[in-house]
């Protein structure tokens, strides 16, 4: 007889379709006894909601969207995103909400997707990543009135709720550690300067340098690619008085930097300490293993999903959420400066 519908259940249970709908959705409007009977029948018939019908009747699409804008030459979906996705889906699928994922070339294309999804009623809400300093997406999303949670901040996210970790505190923890080891010349291979978190990290480094009286502390912006990471590292290490420590904004760039150090005969950590702002398998498997900032990205994804679900129920009742600051995992790529080639190991 094909898939059972609520009409079948209603007939079987001897009630109206409306009553079945109320019972199935846990709403008031049916007595406890009939509710249980209806649920039992639905179970017996192995009924499942038809997502399209539900979306048409109600006004929910039953899905939320996530668009990642990355130029093709960068790594694409990095370990960070795969962890985030898992965390998101763990929470969303428990509520039967699907996740629409899309990878596009740039912010313009990203905005187009939001407009299309909105007009096609594809999604009920959105997750916004890679927050920019002057972010054109914010105004668009406010205008579309699509419930959205921003991963990033604090600040620069307009009236949209944000889930954020403190990149400033994180950067300070790195610099404090390096300074404690004795480093006085620290370089920072930053990501895209348009990103909000890039600016916060750069600013934190400047502030820390002043406070600690460092001899040098420079941030070099890049496009996050391994190519620019390698090129910038080469330039830094070719200087007369080169930095004794480099902080990389991504694990991919950090690994590329490690390769350049090997290529130029600069020992790590003997002559150069390396810290990655992102932790992942990459940071662990290279040699020497990289000291890196670790965080529970899976849990972060779950947190974002919960905030978004709350926003769907009550767009006005949602507050910004601060998540734990990433913590430094020390491995083999950091040491006091100037140990020289003696410590080069292996």
């Amino acid at each position: 007889m094909g898939r059972p519908t609520i009409a079948d259940i209603a007939r079987q249970a001897g009630v109206s379709k409306g009553a079945v709908s109320f019972a199935l959705n846990g709403r008031p409007g049916v007595s406890q006894a009939t509710r249980e009977r209806i649920l039992r029948v639905a179970e017996e018939m192995n009924w499942r909601p038809h997502s399209a019908a539900r979306a048409l009747g109600g006004s929910r699409a039953g899905a939320v969207g996530l668009v990642i804008a990355r130029p093709a030459r960068t790594i694409g979906v990095e370990p960070f995103f795969s962890q985030l996705l898992s965390g998101l889906q763990a929470v969303l699928s428990a509520r039967s909400v699907a996740l629409q994922l899309m990878v596009v070339e740039d912010t313009e294309a990203e905005i187009e997707v939001y407009r299309r999804w909105s007009s096609e009623h594809r999604v009920d809400g959105l997750i916004l990543v890679d927050l920019q300093v002057h972010d054109p997406r914010i105004a668009v999303l406010e205008a579309l009135a699509l419930p959205t949670v921003v991963l990033g901040g604090p600040g620069r996210h307009g009236s949209l709720p944000s889930v954020w970790a403190d990149d400033r505190e994180a950067m300070l923890s790195i610099v404090d550690y390096l300074a404690a080891l004795g480093h006085r010349r620290i370089a920072h291979l930053a990501g895209l300067p348009a990103f909000h978190h890039t600016q916060r990290r750069m600013r934190a480094l400047r502030d820390a340098a002043k406070r600690l009286g460092l001899e040098e502390a420079v941030s070099v912006p890049t496009d996050f690619s391994d190519a620019e990471g390698a090129a910038a590292t080469r330039a830094l290490l070719a200087r007369g008085r080169r930095p004794t420590a480099i902080v990389y904004d991504s694990d991919v760039m950090a690994v590329a930097g490690l390769g350049v150090a090997a290529e130029m005969g600069v020992s790590v950590p003997g002559e150069l300490s390396i810290v990655s702002f992102d932790d992942s398998v990459l940071a662990r498997i290279v040699h020497p293993a990289l000291t890196a900032l670790s965080r529970d990205t899976f849990a972060l994804g779950g947190q974002v999903a919960r905030v978004l679900l709350a926003a769907l129920d009550d767009p006005a009742g949602v507050r910004d959420v601060r998540t734990p600051t990433p913590r430094l995992t020390v491995r083999e790529s950091t040491a006091p400066p100037g140990l020289g080639r003696a410590s080069k190991t292996v």
Copy 2:
């Protein structure tokens, strides 16, 4: 007035809703003149299809699904998948078909997702990856009668159409190259033995070893994790007569193996040649850069999407598609054996 519907267009153009639907979907049933008028009106009103309504009225969900089953400890979504996704979406979104992506723990959970999606009418078709030798998913999908394209093969995919590249030929090209360099003892750090392509690679190595009269050619199965890749490499290199070349089934394992070689003071490529079966940023950025099998994974994704779309239109009219065999990109990690520590440097 809210979003325009086909009823609005019909009123404005002075025709029936049915006529509008035909015109908008490029079907016969309206004259050329009225078709053009309708399209013009739709354009003026900035009409967009409501995906749920379309799914309910027709019987299409407007989406296809891809489930990736990976235990949490492996890298998750690898570069391979991100490329594949991009290729899939490039073709699918041109036809306004969404992609439902889900990451789960194991095959059992994966099958559950298929059953749920099927009964909820969430997707019109599926893409199946990581084909197994005895794959329980095949029978389930045949029974669900959900149009599905298998990425993998040839063989073992039942009545489902397959898009495949020849892993056997690919392995032979590696072994032939290593043998030509003079290697006589070759090891292969394979992936999960349950995977169809793992078996084909292992068998290809055995056959090549016999044909070439190699002294030793052993395949060691692993779970694809960096941990097992490292452990197995350690065991191989600790032997008396160790292999002079190791072929790794994934880039992550190859990088882990490279780390172990460094740790044990085995120079690459002087004392050990390393080849990765997967190419990616990882293979390029490490030092020495890894010789690897390259393929156009983006194009592969596009190909899979095209076959799936064809299967949606006509499930019976789809044939298996063979894609180009991956080709060896030689970098710095391979050399004739026994050059010894002299060539270590850099």
